[in-house]
Structures are given as C-alpha cells and as structure tokens.
Amino acid sequence: MKVALVIAALVAGVVMSLSLGARPVPLADIRAAVTAFDPSDPNHLVIRDLRLPRLCAALIAGVGLALAGVLMQAVTRNPLAEPGILGVNAGAGFAVVLGVYALGLSGAASWLAFPGAALAAAAVFLLGGGARAGSGGGATPARLALAGIALNALLISLISALVLMRAEALDVYRFWIVGSLAEAQMRPLLPMAITVLVGVVLAFASAPGLDALALGDEAARGLGTRTGLVRATVLLAVTLLCGGAVVVAGPIAFLGLAVPHLARMIASRSVVSTLAVALPLGPAILLAADVFGRVVMPPAELRVGTTAAALGGIIFILIARRMRPGEVT
C-alpha cells in the first residue's frame, strides 16, 4: 500500500519533470515526442534534448544516492552516515575537478569520480569500524560523523579553490559544489546509468550479509557471513552508486540521509526491503525537488542540490522529531 504510494509519487515526479518548466509541455506532446518525434516542433525538441536527459540524470542520481545512503548506514551501523555529509560525493567531485583543472583532462575526467569516491568511502568505512573485525573495535558514531564532516568540508573547500581559481562560469561552481541537473544533456548519461545499475545489483547482493552484520561481527560470522566480502561488496557498490550520481548531478547532500530513514518507516526491518523502497523513493524525492526548483521563480531556476538539501533537511527534521531516544527510525 505505502509502496504503491511511493511508486505513484515517482510516476507523478516523472510526468511533472517532463511537462513543467520554463516552457510547459502538454502530456500529448510528451508522448508524441517519444513515439513520433518531429524536429520542427519546439516542444518535441525541449523534451528530447533537455527534459529527457534531465529526467535520466535525476533517476540515476536519485537511485545512486538513496541506495548508497542505505548501504552506508547499514555498514557503519550509524544512522547519520550519508554520502553527502561524510564526503564520499565530495571525494568523487574533487577527483573530477582535479582531473579537469589540474591535469587538463576533459571527458575522461568523469571516470576519476570512481577512485575519488572509493578513497573517500574507504576512509569512512575505516573510521566506521569496518576494518577491525573484533567486537568493540572501530569508531564511535560521534567520531565517524566528526571525521566524515571534516573530510567533506576539506574536500568541498578544495573543490571551491580549484574551480574559483579559474573564475569561469558560475554554473561550473554550482554543479561541483551544490549539485545541479541543468545541462544534464552534457553529462555521460548512458555509461553512468550502467554503472549505477551495477551498483544497484551489488547493493541487493550484499543485503543479506548486511542484515547479519547488524548483529555484530562475531554473530554474523557465526551465521556463516563472510564479513570481509560483504564489506568489500558494499564499498564497491557505494563507489559505483555515488560516483555515477556525482558525475551526472554533482555532490547532492541530504538525499542519501533522508531517504533511508523514510524508507525504513515504510519497509520492514531488513536491508533488502529498505533498498527496495529506497529505489523508487530516492528519484521521486529528487524529481520533486528539481521540479520545485524549476517552477518556484521562473525563468530563473534553483539548482537541485539546493532544493534537495532543503527538502531532505525538512524530511529529516520531521523524522527526527518523531524519533524516541534509542531508536533509529
């Protein structure tokens, strides 16, 4: 029932994202643009060249960030873990910006997002106790959060420094600091869609292992879980999910934090069902944020990174208010 609502919200988000904006396009034209494309019709051009790529980018980023949030919270056993706050997105962004501005790469720089995300995620996991298998090893939730936030701030400031040194278009800055879906048509959508898809498969494959890990390493291994393999799979999945999301939409924060909490309120306790709910919920919320940013003050546009952080923040405050002490969601 609730899951049906989430899917309905996603469908509504898709339709609104295609039809609303500086140039509203009626539903019939959207269909025609796909089934019987007419290059002389400006509505068709808007749909095919701008709105469809933008929709795809939102789907890629929404899925990537939401699932990465679920995985990171599960593997660190920390309800505050999230790719935006803990610097994984910024790691991906920093690597790409470094490639473009310091090494002079162009299209190939996108792929640097993955080693960047992997290094930042590995740092988070090490701090989150992933490295030490013994009971009681690893970091306290506070230490993980503090170190992650510091890493994120550092990486964001490095990105600003690199981007602002060039003082080019403000759009570049908006994309790499805030996150944006404008100019989505210029991003490598197909390769990133495939990458994120692989990340989704890995996420679901690691879910039973994460359920066992939630009982502590010793109990998990007693239950036949290969804890090292589960962590390695999660690390790879987070890298692909966040890297893909950042390449198409920039380092969007808060979505990865709010969606897993919301999903757990809808889903049952297991990681599989949380992932299954987060999968449509992530892009639904990101699309809502993007549509809001487009219609709120036309013809100007609020970047999706701003509206998503605002929406995610509001959702998270509402969830946090409902939480009782000692409860995650």
Binding site: R77, S135, A205, A207, P208, D211, A212, A214, L215, G216, E218, A219, R221, G222, L223, G224, T225, R226, R264, S268, R269, S270, V272, G326, E327, V328, T329
Partner: protein, 256 residues
C-alpha cells in the same frame, strides 16, 4: 568426535592468551566450560567457532581443519552465541530469530516453510511466543537473552556453543534454560557447550566439565571428578568446601 582442538595457541596482537591447548568436545553431551574472568573461555569458544584463527595448531570439525571449510558449511554445523551480541535497533524478537536462519537461505534469501518451522520451534522453546512482535529494545535483560538463545536455536545446528547464556537470567530462568539445553541434547542429540559462571549449576546440568585457567585446560571430566576443592583452589584461588548437592548428588561449592 566432531569438534577438536589440537595444540592451539591463540594470541591477540601478539599477546598469547591460549597456549598449547588440546581439547575434544564430547559428541552428544552437555559440556560446561568454567574458569575465572579473563582466563580465555570466550577466546576458546571463538576459536572453536572459527572466528579467530589460532597462531599454532588447528581446530578440526569432522576431521577437517575448520579454516579450510566453507563459512556457510561451518555455520550449518556449528552455532555460536557470542558473549555480547549487538541487536540492530528497532528489530523485533521474531525478526531477530529469523536471522538465525541465514546459513540455510539461498542467495536471494527466499523464506521457506522450514525457516518458519525452525523460527516457531525456537520461539516455543524459549517461551517467547507472546513477545514475538516486541522490539528487542523493549525487553528486559533476561527476555533479551532468551531471544538471542532462540536465534541460536533457529540456526538448527548439531553443535551449539553458548558464551555465558545464563547471564542476566534470574535463577528460575537459568534453571529453565539449562533444562532446555538438556532437552535439546537428549531429544535432538545436539552437542551443547556453554561457558557458565555458576559452578553449582554447571555441575548439576552438565555431563562434562572443562576447567580453564590461564589459557590452559586445568582439568576435564565428569562434574564429580573435576569440581573438587583442589581444582577450585588452583583455578580460581578460591578456598571452598565441596559437598554433594542434596537433590542430584552433584558437587555443590560452598566458599569458606
């Protein structure tokens, strides 16, 4: 004998905790491990359950080095309840018990009728039916302990290793639990090994007692032969008189 340790040394960060230990867990019996705090009981149990790799010697399960076996195969033969497990927040009793089925589930984790049967049997054995839908966080310490034991039962292994399963339980529940372990042993032929601190209960409810001290096995055998004033003095530095229990005639320890 299915589970054996052969000349094992176990160390944490280079500090040896268990030294040259040889041990055979008697099949189809209830075994208690006793010994003072920090003598290496939990370490031994974890080593037997493959959670720690010995620096020397090996643990054999069905004649094979346990570290050469598949993780999942080991988990189908041998269940371990650690001394301090973590409950994921918000999880209910039934959910927790269901997680004990992990080694039996397929890659996609489809839930089967056998899983339901094992979960319900574990709920019934630990008298937790009425609390099945309660979050673990909303249970008393003793109820929580029973939920963990139910999870270990649901794993449905012929060998059960339990680290201090009676901690947090009141005396009637301790006795209930030890009787339950006895029933699992008699009716299903399971091999049960538990670390216990209550020497009287260990003597009363076990077929075999292993006394550890300083990372070594000091004595092992039937309770009446092992729990004596002289072993207690050596293992615990405890001066005590051992008298026969008036009900079961097993040794009863009375500190001096």
């Amino acid at each position: 004998m299915r589970l054996q340790a052969k000349g094992i040394d176990v160390a944490y960060d280079g500090r040896r905790v268990i030294e040259g230990l040889d041990l055979t867990i008697p099949d189809g019996k209830v075994t208690a491990i006793i010994g003072p705090n920090g003598c290496g009981k939990s370490t031994l149990l974890k080593t037997l359950a493959r959670l720690i790799r010995p620096t020397k010697g090996q643990v054999l399960l069905d004649g094979q080095d346990i570290h050469a076996a598949h993780t999942r195969d080991v988990a189908r033969k041998l269940g371990l309840l650690p001394q301090s497990p973590l409950a994921p927040e918000g999880i209910t009793v039934a959910d927790l018990i269901a997680r004990g089925r992990a080694p039996w589930r397929s890659l996609l984790g489809r839930w089967s009728p056998a899983d339901t049967a094992a979960r319900d049997a574990a709920l019934a054995a630990t008298a937790l039916e009425d609390l099945a839908d309660r979050p673990i966080a909303a249970l008393s310490g003793g109820q929580r302990q029973r939920a963990w034991i139910a999870m270990a039962l649901a794993q449905d292994t012929p060998i059960l290793l339990l680290d201090e399963p009676t901690t947090y339980l009141d005396l009637p529940h301790q006795v209930d639990l030890l009787r339950l372990l006895g029933r699992l042993n008699r009716e299903q032929g399971r091999t049960v090994v538990s670390v216990l601190h209550d020497l009287g209960l260990a003597a009363r409810f076990s077929d075999h007692v292993i006394v550890m001290s300083g990372g070594k096995v000091l004595a092992e055998g039937p309770p009446s032969e092992v729990i004596t004033a002289s072993t207690l003095a050596t293992a615990f530095g405890l001066e005590a008189v051992v008298i026969p229990d008036p009900i079961a005639n097993t040794p009863l320890v009375v500190p001096v």
